[in-house]
Symmetry: C2
Subunit: 338 residues, 2 copies
């Protein structure tokens, strides 16, 4: 029976869905449920990872230390994990803090073409004997060759595996098959997949990833996450079990964890709406949607037009200014200048 | 470019989600949106099809004639379709009425092992020169050989194709692949697939069906339907377009139709909850879930235990009494007799 390591970012990606306002109490409630279900790794923190709380990307309700210690207090068998994006997170301030708190699993992330920026962070964690993985975000934006070479860099820095994120929910199963197969062939360590549900493929893509040799899969309770949400964890566990994979996660207790997340963490259960579908088709990061909706109203243009044009431009997180430029451009072409 | 015929049962399967209380006004609003999006077939009526409104399975708010005429009044290019289960529906009362109203597409349905009961209804419609399909419900409950032989019966009665329903949302992509491939090989006419989302696979399974030669796919706006809902139509259209299939459906306008369904038809957008997952794993019809929840509370047992035991017994719609028997049995075994 093939074994899959489940990593659960409900308390990190879910934070995106509530403007990073998860409380210490909420973290404790869900962490306890995940631990009871024997989830292997629980990822906790600001939506953009440790050290990311800021006016620009969103101030978290609680500090990193409070969030992580709250989770830690509830975990006996589940490992505590963090998402860490160099640029937001520094070694001196953030990784040292995580080590002090006793974080077990470190996932160092960059845009898919920027693995270089993870070198120091990965090495730093690896030298301290901790479990460390590389994460390639917006992975659909690179061709397979680039994807593999960036992943190999992360492995060369000391990562025990590389997780590819479908941050825009843009992949169809055939895309995942090609990419995970290529990574599985090239890498020595784990290959992981982190899905989003913009095109309704979160669970299906994760299953394909497992079939192609991925050994780490991410999912969140009730798909808690921005926009259309993530791969839904309880469904993923059921589907893996039905397909003959072993995860060690207790089915009934992970269903309970889903119920608990719905009751205590989630305002509105993620569903696939028009702008999510358009962002998945356009390959634009879901985190942009709120800005796009706002700007589109202000310029009197269709947010779907803005999304598709942003997709053609290949914009990435941090380029939010281009939304206004694109909306203005469309408004002018449609004679709606103001 | 491969062509797919989209059949949209939002105004029929969605009726399950609201206890068959869709109004004439709601039907008009959505029918207009579906017609604007150039949806090929719109299926309308009581959740269990024409003639099914009754105390036992649920009284509809509106009569069949009112529902169908309301839809018809809004359609210019979209064909009007009905779901028809012999037993609920009679030729004399219901099919003649549908012909009078001008229904274009007739889908005659039976449990997967009971195609025989559709013979008279299919022949009747065929002899009148109307478009008629066979539908095999709960199709996961038969082996592939039986599935094929039952489908062949429907074709021999005059059906232009056979649609298999994953009524319990129990299929994984590999299951769909095997079944649709076998049907594609055996049948002369269309093969269709109607998915449910209990295991999060509605859209993914439909895409696999298309890849294996299915040419009719069903989906509902925002997945409107009982429990975890159906294949989500707007997402399906996007995914088919991205995969190079032609449906004739306008992407922006079907996204609009989804928005309209959310605003005017749907109380709670379907999401995948614990009992839906358990029913998908157990292969039990989602329509049972409400009864199972009620009976389980009354006997103090876990509804998931009830679902899995019902799955082992192979219960089908109409056997609701067994729910009580099973709940009682579990309660006794757990020393919870009352």
């Amino acid at each position: 029976m093939k074994n899959i390591i489940i990593s659960d970012p409900t308390l990190r990606d879910g934070n995106h869905a509530v403007g990073h306002q998860l409380s210490v109490e909420q973290v404790k409630i869900y962490a306890k449920a995940a631990n009871a279900a024997n989830v292997p790794i629980l990822e906790v923190g600001h939506g953009n990872g440790i050290g990311a709380s800021s006016l620009q990307v969103g101030l978290a309700k609680e500090s990193d230390i409070d969030l992580l210690e709250a989770a830690k207090s509830q975990l006996t068998t589940t490992k505590l994990g963090i998402h860490c994006i160099p640029g937001f997170a520094t070694i001196e301030r953030d990784l040292k803090l995580a080590l002090d708190i006793g974080v077990d699993v470190y996932r160092i992330a960059s845009h898919v073409t920027e693995a270089d920026v993870t070198k120091k962070h990965i090495s730093f964690v690896r030298e301290r004997g901790k479990e460390v993985y590389g994460v390639l975000m917006m992975s659909h934006m690179a061709g397979i060759e680039t994807l593999v070479s960036e992943a190999l860099k992360m492995e060369s820095y000391g990562a025990e595996g590389v997780v590819i994120m479908d941050s825009a929910g843009a992949y169809l199963p055939q895309d995942v098959k090609k990419r995970v197969t290529a990574l599985r062939t090239a890498l020595n360590g784990h290959v992981g997949f982190h899905g989003h549900n913009n095109l309704g493929m979160g669970v299906a893509n994760s299953l394909v990833a497992a079939e192609c040799g991925a050994t780490i899969l991410d999912g969140t309770a009730r798909a808690f996450g921005a926009g259309a949400g993530n791969t839904q964890l309880e469904v993923l566990i059921a589907v893996l079990e039905k397909s003959g994979y072993s995860t060690g996660v207790d089915l009934y207790k992970i269903l309970d964890a889903g119920d608990i997340a719905e009751e205590y963490l989630i305002d509105v259960i993620p569903s696939v709406k028009s702008t999510s579908i358009a962002s998945g088709m356009a390959g634009v990061f879901s985190g942009f949607i709120r800005h796009i909706d706002r700007v589109s109203i202000s310029y009197g243009v269709d947010p779907r037009d803005v999304l598709f044009r942003l997709g053609k431009r290949g914009v990435v997180a941090g380029q939010e200014d281009i939304i206004i430029e694109v909306a203005q451009e469309i408004a002018e072409q449609q004679g709606k200048t103001k």
